[in-house]
Amino acid sequence: MAQDTGGSTPKPKAKSLSKIEDIFSDHPTLKKYLRGPLRTWKLYRSSMTGLVGLGIVLGFFVLAIFAPIISPYDPEFRAPAEDVFYANNVELVITESYNWSAPVGLTADTREEALIGLMLYSKDDGKALIYPVGTGVQEIEVQDPTTYSLPVGFDYIEYVHFPRVLGETSYFLVRDGQTVYEYSDNLIDLNVEWDLGFEPMYTSNLWNGYTLALRFSRLALVMTDEHNVWLYDKVPRDNLGFFTETRTFTDTLTITDETIIGNPLVVDGDFEDGSVIIIPTSSDLRAYRIDVEKSLLTGIVQNVSIGAQMWRKNYTLDGNEFTPVNAKQMIAFPYAQGASDAFGKTIIVLATTDDDLIAYQREDGEIKWSGPLIMPGITDFEIGDLYSSPAGIIVTGKAETRGFVAGVDPETGSVRYNRTMFSLTEGHINSPPQYVSGLGTFIYSSDRGIIYLSDGLLGINATFAAPGGGALTPVSFLGNIYIQSSVTGNYFAVVTSENTLFVSTLSGVNKAPLPPGKYPSGNRYILGTDYEGHDILAWLIYGTRSELMVGITAAFVAVVIGTVVGLVAGFYPGIIDSLLMRATDVMLSLPGLVILLLFAAVFGPSLVNIMIIIAILSWAGIARVIRSVTLSLKERAFVDAAIIAGASESRLIFRHIAPNVLPYTFLYMTFTISGAIVTEAILAFLGFGDVNNVTWGMMLQYLQISGQSLIAWWWLLPPGICITLLSMSFYLIGRAFDEVVNPRLRKR
């Protein structure tokens, strides 16, 4: 009985199409070829949702193709500092006026580098002020200080902090003459004191030997006078119960044949090998191993000592002798401690009296490169200080406001001036440019009392003048401020004005992600920006490209596999068929996405891998459908006719069955595209996406990482809406096309 035809609405006549038909009516052959598609289109266009889907997909294609024209910015664009950065100053008056040290940030051990306090130390009267730092909703709050008294005249050395390890983890090292004292972080309890037997002149960098693989922190510091070397090495207690207390080891070494002329350098090695101390002497550079003795059974460190000399190199290069300017400028490169093996070796760079940069290789001290630096437009550049950074070696001029960033060629180890020149408006850099990891910027101050925030190439992003002007202690980067339980990169610097009574706590707040609107630079971000100042709209538009590529390619591969399997299974009943169908059964009951995650985790997240895996995991359903279609086609008369006519099997499959299967193939392609788009988004979101491509899923992952997902709706909504829209449009096309292919459905 009754078929139901409810809800079918008579659709308006598409005028343009009938015109097309008119045009082609004069060309019989053309018309013949167009008849199929035209008929399909006639049926298709009766579906409202199908038309909507098609329209949206076409829209996205236009976006993808014309992305560079349509997009307001390109994907690399970042909102300038004046839009993104906003200075949040806290000014505090110090009642007493002393000769304050550079401020020290005290960080909590529960979360990585969470700033909980600020310390100022005055050598003049041994006074130390600790300001607790709290966090408000959008800004930091510095509270009233607690004052501690230490013996007058101590040299403050280091604040030693073990991140990631529970328990007592912070220490202050101070020195008075020949004695080194270690206080715990309340500045009251004196832990240990060492009588070095000499008065140190040079102090090395504090080496923080955290190794990811081992999950141990280790710290090393070296102090020397002209002949004596003292090693201070600290292994914290771990939170896993292997050993329960923090252990400190010290050792000494005497160099009699030469005079030590500068700060030693502790460079990384891994735990097994021990680290290396590099000591500049009057005629050469020497490397000593730091030996670590461990218990064979438990792996616990038993002793740390200065080990054998590994190498020593004279200050000669190609027969030319030189002397280091000042070994204070010796740095190890690359910057990141944990990644010592980025080049397979560590490079040690130092500056010579001739203003050259010399690079040594860490293992054997071989000099890899030397030569005069050629800087266009700059004739006389006197190297002041060297600082390492992820961007390269920051070289500042001695008496100038200029500097540059040099790089190390990982192949040859050569140091090159390969980055931009930078220049300060006033003064000379007086503090090590400190890398602010979350922002990708540097913070440093000049001796004229200006604090600079700059990008990775030291292009200046923002400047801050200390209140009251005048000279400052060097600026310090103190750590991250956590706001609302997520890292929101409030970066912090403290400056003390020398003779005024100000402590100006200057906190730069990264305002990004910026909500939609117009900003001081005159830029308009229609959909706002993400955390790094990327324009959301631009990323959305460029993201269309990868989405379409992933969706279509993955679906294409899946559909090809599925169609071939389906055809073969449908055509060869019996064992082949049942084997293939069993295989599809298994494939269908595999939790696809879950397995996808496994592959993505292990084979590395690249778009190509993702496409292949999606394809492999989605062919099964298609194969089933194609098989049943093939089976029913086989029954049809024309196939019989073809068999009688003596067509070969392959001819039969490819000439007679395949063309009739194609509509289904196309149909399932649209559905698979729809699924692939969402799947890719999920992968990307869970952190298994390809970081080299802008995809919508990626945008959402960045959002999640940045911890802004509960705030930045303008960042949360658009990518999700786009994913949904695009996926749904392909799905709608599929549904509408389904009605064309399966007339049974048309009546609905």
Partner: protein, 420 residues
């Protein structure tokens, strides 16, 4: 007495490119206990007519006009016809009449209540005038009610369930009570008429218990008896439909249709799936039962022999219209329509004598754009020019024998007829 009277029924289906005029002005009447055969080529609208009566039209089916009177008392019918005559082309007048009658009725009822209040509800306590008055008004109320019913088509099934746009309210409460209890149907596709996931017996029991307050055991007993009646072993009531053969399903369907001894059964190709012997037996049994219970029946079929065997009356349908209607003998022996004649020619004679089948040339028309005038004219061998212009009116040749052909009278003697 007419049990069911269909008058000028028009059912059209809405499809993408227009309207299918599946039933386009059909009228007939079946008396209690009478059997009418409805014959016609496939697609001429037989099932649609049946569905209109049972109110099972699909959602795109619209009742464009017509009435289906069910169990209308004869006097009401006469009154209705009179009123129809009176108010032809004057709907306002009818409305006014209805309004006055209603007013009068209300007044009478009030008056009655008044008197009753006075007499304290006990009639005998009233004064003689009061009693007289009461009796008089009671009589008038009865009369008025009957007239009102005639005027408002009270017995029209469609009036109860037809929505504004012509669609039928599928689950109208009044109609639901009539369904199966009063009018049941043996479906054309009896093969799939049972729900595959329930036992056949349970489905029959469900129908019984829906309309009658019987306990499970009684209902099961009745289901078993019905199975026996249609010749299925009674223990098979616990089977599922897929465990039945096609013929068994058909018989189970018949059992279901008879389950509540309805007043009227529509049998849409009831015996097509059965072998000749079973077919005969079942037709015989149905006939018997029908006589016992005074059931009326409408048999829809292509099979003229079935019709000839069981029907008192025959209606021949073509392209949504009745072509000829009359007593079986009248139609078979005094065929008065070229189409009937052609149709009869398409079947072997029931008298056993083998004859060449003469089929009607051409195809039934497209019901979206049916031919103007007599719908049969493109295929009619006797067509004259005005056949394609004027829709034929019914010509009553004998009482009850009507042919919708302009030239019925002239052609009747020449037409081939059964056995002739």
């Amino acid at each position: 007495m007419a049990l069911i009277e269909v008058q000028d029924l028009k059912v059209h289906f809405k499809i993408q490119n227009g309207w299918v005029k599946a039933v386009d002005g059909v009228s007939f009447m079946i008396d209690a206990g009478e059997t009418m055969g409805l014959v016609g080529e496939s697609g001429c609208g037989k099932t649609t007519a049946a569905y209109a009566i049972t109110q099972l039209l699909p959602p795109n089916g619209f009742v464009k006009s017509g009435f289906i009177f069910f169990k209308e008392p004869p006097r009401t019918r006469l009154l209705r016809l009179e009123y129809d005559q009176m108010f032809k082309g004057n709907p306002k007048g009818r409305e006014r009449e209805i309004a006055t009658m209603r007013a009068r009725l209300t007044k009478l009822l009030e008056e009655k209540r008044d008197i009753k209040d006075k007499t304290g509800q006990v009639k005998s306590k009233g004064t003689p005038e009061q009693i007289e008055r009461l009796d008089a008004s009671s009589a008038e109320v009865t009369e008025l009610t009957e007239r009102l019913r005639a005027l408002t088509y009270f017995y029209d099934l469609l009036a109860k369930s037809k929505l504004k746009d012509g669609r039928l309210d599928d689950f109208n409460e009044e109609i639901r009570k009539i369904r199966w209890k009063e009018i049941s149907m043996i479906f054309q596709g009896a093969m799939n008429a049972f729900n595959p996931v329930f036992r056949v017996g349970d489905q029959i029991i469900e129908a019984i218990q829906l309309h009658e307050d019987v306990d499970d055991d009684k209902a099961t007993e009745r289901a078993k008896a019905l199975f026996n009646f249609v010749g299925i072993p009674e223990d098979r009531i616990t089977n599922y439909p897929h465990e039945f053969s096609g013929g068994m399903k058909q018989r189970a369907m018949i059992a279901l249709a008879l389950a509540l001894s309805p007043k009227f059964i529509i049998a849409d190709e009831p015996t097509t799936a059965l072998d000749v012997i079973t077919q005969d037996r079942i037709l015989f049994e149905i006939r018997k039962l029908q006589e016992q219970l005074k059931m009326a029946m409408m048999i829809i079929t292509h099979d003229v022999s079935v019709v000839a065997e069981v029907s008192d009356k025959i209606a021949v349908m073509y392209a949504g219209r009745i072509m000829e209607i009359g007593k079986t003998v009248q139609v078979f022996k005094n065929t008065a329509h070229p189409y009937t004649s052609g149709l009869l020619g398409s079947f072997p004679s029931i008298e056993g004598e083998r004859r060449r089948l003469i089929s009607i040339p051409g195809f039934p028309p497209d019901l979206v754009n049916p031919p103007p005038g007599c719908p049969f004219h493109p295929r009619c061998g006797y067509a004259k020019p005005d056949c394609s212009k004027v829709v034929p009116k019914g010509i009553e040749l004998e009482p009850g024998h009507i042919s919708y052909c302009h030239y019925a009278k002239e052609l009747q003697p020449n037409l081939r007829r059964l056995g002739g």
